[in-house]
């Protein structure tokens, strides 16, 4: 197997010439074999109209695998989705971006409103799944919604209040992030990467910086790494607070909803007091961090974190002991572990179903390399499991953040990188609060960036939501949706 793949680590730069290129048939066999052994897809990237590469993650070996596929002519290749449904979104994206047809793909339709696609396609040309029957009816929601949320169209096939199937059509927010990355100076793309997904600012900018620093071949001081991870964990805890508040709000349990919202504010204000932005924008920059945590503020921050944690525990105890709340959460929107593994769910939602994928554990990077952490998982796969997962991860984040504040070492804050290695490739995976964020950067022979790819965890998990609401009541959809809380723009890029 090792001969068929280029094997490398997270945040490591490799030469593009080392990627083995295989014929379509051999490629298919190789990838299928690897997937049977437990690796999972991270990215499919077309480097031309007749060749593409795949990046797989091998959690057991703590390494990433890469292989390329060369097509004879423009005939396309045999789709992998039938054997491994986890590939189905990647193959749709590949087809949309490059025109390479995955032959035999079960549901080939565009992922996004594809203004950067090879051919011009209108999203409205593509059909939805349809269900026929006397008592079956369809309910379409969106793309414009009642709340202040992003656009997306949800098409329910229902029988009365029961949902048979949900089809989710996104892509209304496609901004061409990957193309914008290639324009202009690659060293100045921090702001762009910070705005890939507004609520995962730190995760995306860390991944961008990670890829860039790997290509530039520089290492950071422990202090810079610690501050980055501190910001990451605060972001995680704050988002979990927000989601728990939203979950409580969706079941109309107002006290918990209000108080979670109330305690989220001081938490994100902590980021503001470091870098001036509540979401941590402007904190992380290539080569290190732009702002420092002053040594004198450490005791105060520690106290503040402990206070928030104490309040968090009180309100969490209240929420999870309320019978009426539990009866809403339990057995709602269940994704069993087998299904979750099959469709390649990652991150928080995957861990709630029992899949222990955690980049911080399996592909450790920066500070996490020095400090081992244990993954937290649930088994239920229902809304309750996802809520409990948020509770446990927030607890863990508090612990890590406090640990960082306790041990914050001295060191240089930032050393800006200057040049990139030529003909190289780096994949940076970070664990955002929603799950694994993947950025891949490839440079050409002149040391200029030639390709940039981004994958948000929402991309793989949206389909999990579609499966979760099956056989649930249609009125439980908002609750299921909130329990996943996936990103529209992270998916649309």
């Amino acid at each position: 197997m090792s001969k068929d793949f280029l094997r490398f680590k997270n945040h490591q730069s490799v030469r593009t010439s080392d990627i083995p290129w295989l014929s379509a048939g051999l490629f298919r066999d190789t990838v299928l074999k690897a997937c049977q052994e437990g690796t999972r897809p991270i990215l499919l990237d077309a480097t031309g109209s007749d060749r593409f590469t795949v990046v797989l993650a091998d959690d057991r070996e703590h390494s990433l695998l890469c292989a390329g596929c060369v097509l004879e002519g423009k005939s396309g290749y045999q789709s992998l989705s039938a054997e491994f449904p986890a590939f189905h979104m990647f193959e749709r994206e590949l087809w949309e971006n490059s025109g390479i047809v995955p032959i035999g793909h079960p549901w080939l339709k565009p992922v996004r409103y594809p203004h950067n696609a090879i051919e011009s396609r209108e999203m409205t040309d593509y059909p939805f799944f349809s269900v026929h029957g006397e008592e079956v009816h369809e309910v379409g929601v969106g793309p414009v919604h009642a709340g202040i949320i992003e656009p997306g169209h949800f098409r329910f096939m229902c029988n009365g209040e029961r949902v048979f199937h949900l089809e989710i059509q996104l892509g209304y927010q496609h901004r061409g992030v990957e193309q914008l990355m290639l324009k202009g100076n690659f060293f100045n793309k921090s702001v762009l990467s910070e705005s890939i997904t507004g609520d995962s600012t730190i995760a995306h900018v860390s991944a961008y910086c990670g890829a860039l620093e790997a290509l530039a071949g520089i290492t950071l001081s422990t202090r810079a790494l610690s501050i980055r991870v501190f910001a990451q964990e605060i972001e995680r805890a704050a988002c979990h607070f927000g989601d728990l508040a939203a979950l409580a709000n969706d079941v109309a349990y107002l006290p918990a909803s209000s108080f979670y919202g109330n305690f989220r504010t001081p938490l994100i204000n902590m980021l503001q007091s470091i870098c001036g932005n509540r979401f941590g924008k402007g904190l992380i920059r290539p080569g290190g961090v732009a702002c420092d945590i002053s040594q004198s503020s450490l005791p105060e921050r520690r106290e503040q974190l402990k206070d928030i944690r104490a309040s968090f525990r009180i309100i969490t105890e209240d929420l999870f002991s309320s019978a009426s709340v539990l009866s809403r959460f339990e057995k709602t929107g269940t994704v069993p572990m087998e299904t979750a593994a099959e469709i390649g769910m990652t991150g928080l939602a995957g861990r709630a179903s029992g899949l222990a994928h955690d980049i911080r554990v399996h592909h450790p990077y920066s500070w996490y390399k020095l400090n081992r952490i244990e993954p937290v998982t649930q088994t239920g796969g229902d809304v309750l499991a996802r809520a409990l997962q948020r509770r446990d991860e927030a607890e863990q984040s508090f612990e890590l953040a406090l640990k960082i504040l306790d041990e914050l070492p001295a060191g240089e804050l930032r050393r800006p990188p200057e040049t990139l290695q030529a003909s190289s490739m780096a994949v940076a995976l970070t664990e955002g609060w929603r799950g694994e964020v993947a950025h891949m950067a490839v440079t050409g022979a002149d040391g200029k960036l030639t390709r940039y790819r981004v994958k948000d965890p929402s991309f793989t998990n949206w389909f999990g939501l579609a499966l979760a609401v099956r056989n649930n009541e249609i009125s439980d959809f908002p609750l299921c949706n909130k329990s996943f809380n996936l990103s529209y723009c992270g998916n649309d890029l």
Partner: protein, 308 residues
């Protein structure tokens, strides 16, 4: 002094519904540690809506246009027969609680028609949910009122409620069951939290809110007002179960208002302390009213008429 009560009641019908909403909202905000909107906010909203123009979809028939007015007027007429302060209804005649129930039914019928008329799948869903729950509430209402009527030997609203407090022997029991049943009705008809979530913005989970989604301007104002008036009327029944007829009209009016405010607070506390029920579990909650009604009816028969 006697003229004071009808005047007070008319003022109550006009002003209290919006105040009632304001009290509930204030209580909820205060409990959650927020400052919340002013207690007069529903009045501001009402005036604002009245001053706006209405947008009516071209796809709808005239029913959509007249339905809000019908709903509003039926509720207003219904308010005339419900005993308010000092157990005094503006008009009252034997069997008027049946009249009341049918007026409520008429208003609901037109709001359902209007919702279906828009052709929106959400509003159809909301209408179907509302009618499902109503089918449980209506018979239960009759059972509860009928058992009170049996207990007191009267069939007019105001006499039933003024006598129930004086019924010997089983006062505690009938007060308990009757008020519990009517409270379930209040939460269901008022679309409050375990049944519906008045604050939600999610069309898929709404019941009442989704039915008025297409109404705007004065129509929406009337519907909102009628909705709160309905809640006030049911609350008035609950309060009157506990209120004896007093000689002092002023004291009676004050006590009655305080009772209404207390019911509003009780609604708010219920909303704060439980989460909303799963949609498929709502019927069993609403059916509770039937169960309570039957138990009340049979207890009354057993205790009052078994000669023991």
């Amino acid at each position: 002094m006697k003229i004071l009560i009808p005047v007070f009641n008319i003022l109550l019908i006009i002003f209290f519904p919006l105040l009632y909403a304001g009290v509930i909202n204030c209580e909820k905000a205060w409990w959650c540690g927020r400052r919340g909107p002013s207690i007069w906010q529903p009045f501001y909203d009402f005036v604002r809506l009245l001053r706006k123009g209405a947008v009516i979809s071209t796809a709808t028939s005239p029913i959509f246009a007249i339905a809000p007015s019908i709903t509003f007027s039926t509720m207003l007429i219904a308010a005339l027969v419900v005993p308010l302060a000092n157990n005094n209804s503006l008009i009252g005649f034997p069997g008027d609680f049946i009249f009341f129930a049918y007026l409520m039914g008429l208003g609901k019928f037109f709001s359902l028609l209007a919702a279906m008329d828009t052709g929106s799948s959400f509003e159809g869903m909301g209408a179907s949910r509302e009618i499902t729950f109503s089918t449980f509430v209506e018979p239960a209402f009759f059972i509860v009122l009928a058992s009170c009527a049996i207990l007191t030997g009267q069939t007019a609203f105001n006499q039933v409620f003024s006598l129930i407090f004086l019924s010997p022997g089983i006062k505690v029991l009938s007060l308990l069951l009757c008020s519990a049943a009517l409270f379930v009705m209040l939460l269901t008809e008022g679309c409050r939290t375990p049944v519906d979530d008045p604050n939600t913005h999610l069309e898929l989970t709404m019941i009442h809110e989704v039915m008025v989604l297409d109404n705007s301007g004065p129509d929406l104002a009337l519907l909102t007002y009628a909705h709160y008036l309905k809640m006030v009327l049911i609350s008035a029944m609950i309060v009157n179960i506990f209120m004896p007829v007093l000689d002092n009209s002023l004291l009676s009016a004050c006590l009655f208002s305080a009772g209404l405010i207390l019911t509003a607070l009780a609604v708010a506390v219920t909303e704060l302390s439980v989460a909303r029920l799963r949609m498929s579990h709502v019927p069993q909650f609403v059916y509770f009213m039937n169960s309570l009604g039957y138990i009340l009816l049979f207890s009354i028969i057993l205790i009052a008429f078994s000669g023991r």
